[in-house]
Symmetry: C2
Subunit: 244 residues, 2 copies
Amino acid sequence: MSEEGQDRELLQQPWVPVFLGGMRLLAKSSFGDAEYWLLLSDMQNMWEEKVDTSVIQDRAQELNKRLRAPVDAFFSHLCTVARPLLAGEVSSELEDNREPPVISVHSRPERLTLQLKSELAGVPFYWEFRCVQSSVPVVCSQLVRPLLAVSRVLQKQVMELAAQLSRKDVEIQDYRESGAVLSRERLQTEEFDLHRYRETFVTQVLPKVCAVQDCFGFDATLQDLYAAVTAQETKHQQKGLVIR
Amino acid sequence: MSEEGQDRELLQQPWVPVFLGGMRLLAKSSFGDAEYWLLLSDMQNMWEEKVDTSVIQDRAQELNKRLRAPVDAFFSHLCTVARPLLAGEVSSELEDNREPPVISVHSRPERLTLQLKSELAGVPFYWEFRCVQSSVPVVCSQLVRPLLAVSRVLQKQVMELAAQLSRKDVEIQDYRESGAVLSRERLQTEEFDLHRYRETFVTQVLPKVCAVQDCFGFDATLQDLYAAVTAQETKHQQKGLVIR
């Protein structure tokens, strides 16, 4: 895949909340034939590693002195072990009776290392994802711009739903004026007022939403929206349109 | 003000869309007695400058060889000129018959310089905001985390409004079942279905919202929410709570 194609593919993938070596992180990754690109963030910082076949070969040899397997063989093993972890899944694809991989994470502002110990053909297989701090433009492209777009899209939804509520209020008002009466009083709703709603929301609901804010706040709905807005962004880029 | 207090103050300020020297940027700034902190972003990158009195004094002398005014005098002039520009306002506070300041912006990935030429006591006064690229943690703190929180808050609003729509549908259904008829057919609304709404939204509305995506997408409502969520974040920090 071309570098640009890889960029696009990774951009459109959702950020997945993962729990690795005791650390809560957001992850996205793209595994190729014998290459990968990994992004990790704890929302205070962001790190990444992008490596090709030759780096993979050298590192495997460095970490596993006695390894004699060809790169295809151990890379496909690495994928089987690492992909479910980085996708937030419990690894169920491992063969029976196999020990789950052992993970440890070492993070500093400039560097995050993810150490993985698994078992390949009955012997231990060691791997390290050696991530360095991402650049500010990558953080902007992978988090800032999509999150602003998601916010704008959700804001639009709020406006549309508020308009639908007002239309329902008009319909309800018309029934009431024609003398219609509810069979049960508790079905009666209050007239919706967006301004009042927002005021109450900010003082009463917002503090609770913010209090539980964490990486895991990137829930399934937000991830779907993230994927949808980044798909739009890459579509515009392909057309050569400026959407800044 | 303590450094921590300054951090908190700047975090809670909204990002203001500005148009400086032909560039669309988001800005936030905090001006003290004879010190300032400025953040600028074009959503591809982020730059900042934080300077104290001695730097201001030296730079003023460097750029204005014949300047003899004390630092208080020209700093208050600089505030009068720069603050409205960085707040996205047309400078109306300038004294009558005064030429508006001339601005030029030079940006590179690592550096953004904002040159300002104004008039102080009848002679030209030059200033340069010499911003360097922000660190990834600053980008995370000033944009990523607040935008994720804003998204979650808006997502909560969408869920709440959807629930209100369903309650109104139940009320409407009850009127209809009691035989009530609308005075005008066009007042009739369709039953709301969140799942169907989202599907239609993603294919029909979302592409339009994303097409006009730019810095200026940070509109007043989003800015209010930004201020509200960052106020919560700093409140939690002060209490020593972890809200990552």
